[in-house]
């Protein structure tokens, strides 16, 4: 009896270890096929549920990261607007529109797409999110150099959206 219990326990442990490695494998293989392996790994591992979700779940984690970063970008835009530099006023207004596009259209669309199984809208949403960040960066062209903090956020949103897109493409 005791032997059987030990064997059972060993088998169970092996299964759990295998499952964990299998899911860790999913994260590694998936991130290998994205433009930014390290960013992908760091973001996914930082999310508590990442070890047990499927590909759509990994996509949702990444979309959430794009959302969080875009919210930070929008905060930065709002702070800069309060500082009231006249030359920044128009580009910052445009950045507000661009990031509202990400938060009100792209992110909800990508979330619904991944939950309901129409991944092409998820891809479109993330491609557009990266584009909106690029448009924000470009809004300052010929006027004044983009504020470094905002530039940082624009780059981060583009990078995260690029990784999200690559993950979502696996579902097409």
């Amino acid at each position: 009896m005791k032997n059987q219990q030990i064997i059972c326990l060993i088998l169970l442990t092996l299964i759990i270890i295998h499952q964990t490695y299998a899911d860790e494998n999913l994260i590694q293989t998936t991130c290998n096929n994205t433009p930014n392996y390290q960013l992908c790994i760091n973001t996914l591992r930082a999310s508590p549920g990442s070890a047990t979700v499927d590909m759509a779940g990994l996509g949702l984690i990444m979309v959430a990261a794009v959302k969080a970063m875009s919210e930070q970008a929008l905060s930065a835009v709002n702070s800069l607007r309060k500082s009231g530099q006249p030359k920044l006023s128009q580009p910052l207004q445009r950045c507000t529109d661009f990031y509202n596009g990400v938060l009100k259209a792209d992110v909800p669309m990508a979330e619904e797409a991944l939950r309901k199984g129409d991944p092409k809208f998820g891809e479109d949403g993330m491609v557009d999110a990266a584009f909106e960040a690029e448009l924000c960066e470009g809004a300052f062209k010929g006027v004044v150099a983009p504020p470094p903090s905002l530039s940082g956020f624009n780059k981060d949103v583009r990078d995260l959206a690029g990784v999200a897109r690559a993950i979502i493409r696996n579902l097409l």
């Binding site: 661009f98 990400v102 009100k104 669309m109 619904e112 939950r115 309901k116 129409d118 448009l135 470009g138």
Partner: protein
């Protein structure tokens, strides 16, 4: 009395002018004049197109709550002529366990007694894709406004037994009758990365059995969305009923994948329920496409009243989300097209339904008979933002024709090299549409002819790269080979222009390219149209006609 008469005359004139005036909202320069679109919000796939008791129906994927994709329901409009439309209340809402999270795409089938029914994909409470049936509440309502959902829904669903992927099971087609009197329908699906058309059969349209094998499948193509399966005549351009069988027919299987609508022409073995492909593929590198530009989620129906098969297609926005959010709307339908098998049997051909020609007005016939190399001519006296133009070219000399490098196989890539419609041998020649007066802003639709060792090759391009001076958005270059022999045949081009969309047809519909553009300057009276030839050889013009297009009643 005279005063009253004056007012009467003014009234009559203004009523007559209503159809011809540019009904322009200065805040909405990109809304179209004669393409189908709801007054606001998001639209995508055309759904359940059909004709019933002489009235055309179009349903469509619609978001009642905003300009992005989401909260999808079936919106509904009807028409007597495929040009002017009457909107109706939402036909299918998210109300049941089997569609509470979305009423996605589907098709109409006309049953033998003439009764229409709809099969559509519902997203259920667990976010799984299932197939549902809806029937008209009142068949004597000519507009079929209300629809009832079958108490048997869902009729087809992913289960542990059938192992169908619950996220990849959608877009039921119009059903057809098989040799055994059973209905057949296919559903878009994938298994792993292989695209599949899952086949179901039924005697009563309620109880469906999955066939042992899919109708067709393809390795590594990805998901097949919006499949369509229909017969075409090898003997005429007439349409054939979806259940049509017999001599003189081929079958077409179509799917939306990889941003394009691709198709295969083949034979339907009705005894074995197998589709045997002959031309084309439903893979990532598919060559047979309905349209080489922006055209997706398309669907045909058989118009029994005129014996045509008619094609609808969704044309989405090319701008960023912030822009379409601010505009408050997103998505157009292409002008419905008649679709039929080319005489050669090698491809399908499309042409805008002839009803659209009723919007043509103020015809302009150009006296131009030759386009010298390096020349540009304006086509005047036409509302260039809202127009229909047909032009026919003839090649008289091939001495300056350029060689086509055999390694260049992608028409898009060939159109894209050399930076657009710049100087060439035989061409580029064609049209500059939605162009500013100084031709700094324009969209170019043109032909180039190359020598390919064994024959001459005709390339058609639609170049959007210079389409807007100030607005930043996706500005691709589209290209297609046109199956024409320029030694024997004229090179014809027709372009329908409608403010932010153009649909171009080369070779009488052998090559179709649809594009979205958002001019900054070439809007309303700022829009011009030119015909040009940037090649070194002169090109003969055998015909050049343009019409201003009236505004249709869409909403």
């Amino acid at each position: 009395m005279a005063y009253f008469l004056n007012w009467l005359i003014i009234c009559v004139i203004s009523v007559l002018e209503m159809q011809t005036t540019l009904q322009v909202n200065p805040n909405q320069p990109y809304r179209t004049a004669y393409h189908f679109q709801p007054p606001k919000n998001w639209m995508n796939d055309p759904n359940g197109p059909m004709i019933y008791n002489g009235i055309y129906h179009l349903f469509y994927q619609y978001n009642p709550e905003g300009a992005g994709w989401g909260n999808i329901v079936w919106a509904h409009s009807t028409s007597k002529d495929l040009v002017n439309w009457e909107p109706h209340p939402i036909a299918i809402h998210r109300t049941n366990e089997s569609d509470i999270n979305g009423c996605w795409s589907g098709s109409a089938t006309i049953l033998p007694q003439g009764k229409p029914v709809i099969l559509y994909t519902g997203i259920n409470s667990q976010n799984q894709q299932v197939q549902n049936l809806a029937i008209p509440k009142n068949l004597s309502d000519p507009h079929l406004i209300e629809w009832i959902k079958s108490p048997y829904n869902p009729l087809m669903a992913p289960t542990d037994e059938n192992k169908i992927d619950a996220s990849s099971f959608r877009d039921p087609t119009t059903a057809w009758l098989g040799h055994d009197g059973r209905w057949r329908v296919i559903i878009g699906n994938k298994m792993g990365h292989d695209g599949r058309a899952v086949l179901y059969t039924s005697r009563d349209f309620i109880h469906w059995s999955q066939a042992e094998h899919p109708l067709f499948s393809n390795k590594d193509s990805g998901m097949w969305e919006c499949p369509d399966f229909f017969p075409v005549s090898t003997r005429s351009a007439d349409g054939v009923d979806t259940s049509g069988v017999g001599e003189g027919l081929k079958h077409v299987l179509k799917a939306s994948l990889n941003d394009a609508d691709s198709y295969v022409i083949g034979t339907y073995n009705i005894e074995k329920d197998v589709f045997v492909p002959e031309k084309g593929s439903l893979g990532l590198d598919s060559e047979l496409k309905y349209d080489h530009g922006k055209f997706y989620a398309s669907k045909t129906f058989f118009d029994s009243s005129t014996k045509r098969r008619i094609l609808w297609g969704w044309i989405n926005e090319s701008t960023d989300a912030a822009t379409y959010q601010l505009k408050g709307w997103s998505g157009l339908q292409a002008i419905p097209r008649k679709i039929w098998l080319d005489k050669t049997g090698n491809q399908l051909v499309q042409w805008p339904v002839e009803e659209i020609e009723k919007l043509r007005t103020s015809k302009v016939i150009s006296r131009l008979t030759e386009l010298k190399g390096g020349s540009v001519h304006e086509i005047s006296n036409v509302t260039a933002s809202q127009a229909d133009v047909e032009i026919s070219f003839e090649i008289s000399t091939f001495e300056n024709v350029e060689e086509l490098d055999p390694s260049w196989t992608s028409p898009q890539a060939i159109c894209g090299q050399k930076g657009g419609p710049t100087k060439g041998g035989l061409g580029p020649f064609g049209l500059l549409v939605l162009a500013s007066k100084d031709i700094q802003e324009y969209t170019a639709v043109y032909f180039r002819v190359y020598n390919n060792e064994t024959k001459y090759v005709v390339l058609m391009c639609s170049d959007q790269t210079r389409s807007s001076l100030h607005l930043d958005y996706d500005k691709p270059i589209y290209g297609a080979f046109v199956d024409l022999d320029p030694m024997k045949e004229k090179l014809s081009l027709r372009t329908l222009i409608d403010r932010s969309i153009l649909e171009s047809f080369g070779g009488e519909g052998k090559a179709c390219i649809t594009a979205r553009v958002y001019p900054s300057v070439a809007i309303d009276k700022g829009a011009h149209m030119y015909v040009f030839n940037n090649g070194s050889s002169n090109i003969k013009v055998s015909e050049l006609v343009a019409w201003s297009m009236k505004t249709a009643q869409i909403n």
